[in-house]
Symmetry: C2
Subunit: 284 residues, 2 copies
């Protein structure tokens, strides 16, 4: 079947109803477009299970004032071609009016530790915008499973929390980060980087990997691990570290020593581009 493109919730509901009537499991991959191998890995996971719906919507409410909403990469034709090649069945590309009708005034918000640290203080309103739009998309698509990249680890945990707390009838599936050959995590925002900045950005994933290696060798002290990351990143004059934290993977609260698993998460500004990355640490 060729890919079907829909602009309205009504069309999506109709198409999903038909797919479900054919006995198919509905997998959902929400994106903001600017598709890269990370998104395509989500599609491949979803495709194992049945019918795949992808949304392409640059959601205004998850951008903070002064962020890159206006210049965020938008190329629907290219994205659709990539989606079709991977076997996406249905693309939902609504405009902002479809997602935020006149008078819209409802928000879905996860409170507490998950939305307090890491990216939250640097992106006011971001996670509220994410949970609100994802709740809307879930209600429109009504998927059985929804796929999110572990690159946006905090987002993934916030969405898991929302889905569990609100008893949403969907399973949230996290998919490992896809990386460039030199380690840089795939991101639509990598397109903003100049050649020099792109080169310097390798420091992020390298620092994370170095920290992971230390933990494998027995280091469990979070402050020692954070120092290694800071040293590695500060060696790159083009990269300005915004935060780096070692956190409990469930609560995202900072931990001082690693017992079991912990997530090492960071954000950095490279030129004018904000990049994030994370890696799982496991005490041996």
């Amino acid at each position: 079947m060729p890919l079907q493109l829909a602009k309205t919730a009504a069309e999506i509901r109709q198409a999903v109803r038909e797919a479900r009537a054919r006995g198919l499991t509905i997998g959902f991959v929400p994106t903001m477009g600017g598709l890269h191998e990370g998104h395509l890995a989500l599609v491949r996971r979803a495709k194992e299970k049945g019918y795949v719906v992808m949304s392409i919507f640059v959601n205004p409410t998850q951008f903070s004032p002064g962020e890159d909403y206006e210049k965020y990469p938008r190329d629907l034709e290219r994205d659709i071609a990539l989606a079709e090649r991977e076997g996406v069945d249905l693309v939902f590309a609504p405009d902002a009016n479809e997602m935020y009708p006149p008078g819209d005034s409802t928000f879905v918000e996860v409170t507490g530790s998950l939305t307090k640290g890491l990216c939250a203080p640097f992106r006011p309103g971001h996670f509220r915008g994410v949970t609100t739009v994802v709740a809307k998309l879930f209600n429109i698509v009504q998927p059985d499973k929804a796929y999110f990249g572990e690159k946006d680890f905090q987002q993934l945990q916030v969405i898991r929390r929302m889905a569990r707390d609100l008893a949403m009838p969907v399973e949230i599936v996290g998919v490992p980060t896809v990386r460039e050959p030199d380690g840089l995590a795939m991101s639509s925002r990598n397109a903003y980087l100049s050649l020099e900045e792109r080169e310097a950005s390798r420091a992020l994933s390298q620092a994370l990997r170095e920290a992971q290696g230390l933990v494998k060798k027995g280091q469990t002290d979070a402050s020692a691990i954070l120092q290694v990351v800071r040293d590695r990143v500060s060696a790159q004059p083009l990269v300005r570290l915004q935060y780096v934290e070692v956190c409990n993977p469930e609560t995202l609260e900072p931990v001082s020593s690693i017992e079991g698993r912990a997530v090492l998460a960071m954000a950095a500004i490279v030129g004018k581009t904000r990049l994030i990355d994370n890696i799982m640490l496991e005490a041996s």
Copy 2:
């Protein structure tokens, strides 16, 4: 079929899936128990359409500090007997842990004019508690239609807004207020009233009806209408008016003159019991 009682979301999902597979439309009547004729009118409306699910859950998050959460009428056996007599197919009576699992931290909130005036300032957090629990219940029951009484007019409009904004796949149906023979709007809280207070409470609906009569005769000035209500209610020493407003029925913003339809809404304290009521005004 006899009424089925379920305590868990999983049982509800299973029962609703089976009903839907039999081609039935799913109608949902969320309640806090303490059933009265108002609730039963919701059930009768729902019953016209097919399979009826009723929830009975005294939702802690919609009570403000110092309100009547502890003493709210709870008599599950009586409620189930009444529900069964009206043909309810499935009762969902979860305990608080089922609705608010450990670590629960997600809220659904309608912002703006709908949750600014009328009851909102007197019941901090109330509407956020309502929308959050109703969102959870909708996700568990996944009804085609959900029925709410017009007695709680602000609640009805807030829920309509939430459902529309979040693209929830459910139709919200408002059902006219059911009244005692003397006009008092049915409410679980009427059970708190002493005989004297019960008698005095007639003033609420009488004042609303008097105001409605004035509008029918051509009065369109909101302040004149409000004055009539205040005068009528203040004649009853046992009744203390909390607010009375003439509002646009869609936005719930106060209006100064009545053009088309307006809702006249009030809250009053009778003894220790808080009562609300409203009536639709239509300029002739």
